[in-house]
């Protein structure tokens, strides 16, 4: 029973993490981690990053027919 619960819990955690990554919720966290890893000073704020990312994403084909 406990084992099944653990499997469900692990699956749900993976799914939630994947969903957040897929929809872009986790993008800023990833950016901040990357900036910290590379020792980058003054990383963008969440709002700045959001707008910059959108501008970049929608400047090239990203939705198909």
């Amino acid at each position: 029973m406990r084992r099944t619960w653990n499997i469900i819990k692990r699956g749900a955690t993976h799914f939630w993490r994947g969903l957040r990554e897929w929809c872009g919720d986790a993008a800023y966290e990833k950016y901040v981690n990357c900036a910290a890893r590379k020792g980058q000073e003054n990383p963008l704020s969440a709002a700045e990053f959001y707008v910059e990312r959108l501008n970049q994403k929608y400047s090239r084909p990203n939705r198909c027919c």
């Binding site: 990554e21 929809c23 872009g24 919720d25 950016y31 990312r53 090239r60 198909c64």
Partner: protein, 687 residues
Amino acid sequence: MKRLLAVIAWVAVGGVGAAALSTIALHRGEPISATWFVLAAVCTYLVAYRLYSAFIAAKLLVLDNTRATPSERRDDGRDFVPTNKWVLFGHHFAAIAGPGPLVGPTLAAQFGYLPGTLWLIAGAAFAGCVQDFVILFCSIRRDGKTLGEMARQEVSKRGGLIAQLAVLAIMIILLGVVALVVVNALKSSPWATFTLASTIPIALLLGVYLRFFRPGRVLEASVIGVALVLFAVVAGQWVADSAAWSKVFTLSGVTLAFVIILYGFAASALPVWLLLAPRDYLSAFIKAGAIFTLAAGILLVRPHVLMPPLTRFVDGNGPVFAGKIFPFCFITIACGAISGFHSLISSGTTPKMIQRETHARFIGYGAMLLESFVGVMAMVAACAMTPGVYFAINSPASIVGAAPEEAAQTISSWGYPLSAATMTGLAHAVGEQTLLNRAGGAPSLAVGMAQIFSSTIGGERLLSIWYHFAIMFEALFILTVLDAGTRVGRFMVQELIGRVWKPLGRMNWYPGILLSSALIVAAWGYFLYQGVVDPLGGINSLWPLFGISNQLLAAVALVVATTILLKMGRVRWIAVTLLPMAWLVVITMTASYQKIFSPSPRIGFLSYANALTTQIAAGTVPAAKIAETQRVIFNQRLDAAVTAVLAGMILVLLVEALAQWYALLSRKKEPALHETPYVATQWAEGD
């Protein structure tokens, strides 16, 4: 022992797939269960993925997991971001899955279920998936370069320019035709128009929320947005029932066309965070939900396919669009089997996020298989309704008549029994004034989806809600393609006119933004308008034009892929990309020739223009209609010119590529590959 069991299992999967394919191919007479379609598709996909994609990965591309991908070497947390392969699969699929695999198979159902289903399955396995996979691989090896850049570097400078122009051309035609599908779905439908109109203020609300209150919290904003959109679907019924409000939202085709043109301009010129991005989030969630629900519905309901395997319209006189199975079935299906547009995604964001080279197989080949499955489901949904109803919804008034009695009589005379009461009753059941003459595929697909959904939940009582949910789902993500495409088109136009006058090329200079937005919107808006006023329904002219341009872009991608593989010395297995490329060239050239020169006015643009000119000269056109007829004549000639230019471009590219291949194979020229140099990965195997 384990290996033996695996072999037995795969032989069993192959056997079931072959049996299912034989059943749908050889079945005659009684309706056939949709289960056979699902089995045929899924088993073929599994075998193709397990064997063919593995062969391509191992022998043709020789994927190398010791090689660092662009996301590892250039990780910046913004553009180059190492991403889990399942998440990236979701990203890639959401990007490639558009309205094409839903609309194309629905239109191609006029030939019967068989030709379209076979091409959806085989075309994806041998052409579409191969294109997506190989282009993704080529782009990974070039730091995520675009198709145009790869064509310029690996084929020729002119090749790069042709690829860029082809992308712009396909974008303009695509946007015009998908907007026409939306117009045909919404015209004279206050419920559907209100629901779709509501998504604009909802998107604006989400845009402000995500920008100022909770930056980047897409998930919570989308939950709020999806709830509001679903409420708008229900509220649409109240609007339709209100005499005053239904008048406001009952719009003609021409009015809707202008509203959509204005919307496209606004979405391109306004900041991206305000309207475009939040709509895209809404669309992505609803798209995923609707596709999953449709798959579950088909598996649960297992509807019977009522359309015959082949209809009488294989002779080329179909009411939905004219032309024989070869080449028009392939041109019409387009994205569900192979789409040139996918090569832009495979050489866009995806290669910059992939963690390992071997993931390219799962993401490039696998996502296209899933898209093909969406196409098969659309085919099932379209063929699950009675053929008479299908033809009544999708045929233009000029062929079947505008009144239910007239349409029923014409369609019954073709051998597909239909009564006027059936159409009136169905329109009433789905909450519409009429379902006649709604060419474009969206309404008939919505009826098919609603019938499947209501058999699972709600029964007849919820048929109208399900129908409008399906219309909203189709229109919402068509508009997402429209606004995202208009914006990208604007960037391309700015880049081009910026070469003439630099300030116009600046992406943050507002007069430049407004001018380029107006230019791109005017270009696709013109095609939209000509489709709306076309007496033959617009889809008859524009969908084949879109199919031709899309398949030509796929041919461009496969030319680039073949050239790169030849330079890599993979001559032995070159047929993997060469054969689909040759097939695409043959079908697009045949379709282009027929669309320009066919003596049948319903197929050939020029013969239709000449027939109308003769009518004017003979005085058979009423004086009040002469100006309108002359406009139709001009549009037909314009369509002929556009088709000729597109076909000419691919021929030029092909000649350039053939010269290059000859030089490489005869060793007159040393192959010059433009891959980024090998860098060993720093990641451990399990990372």
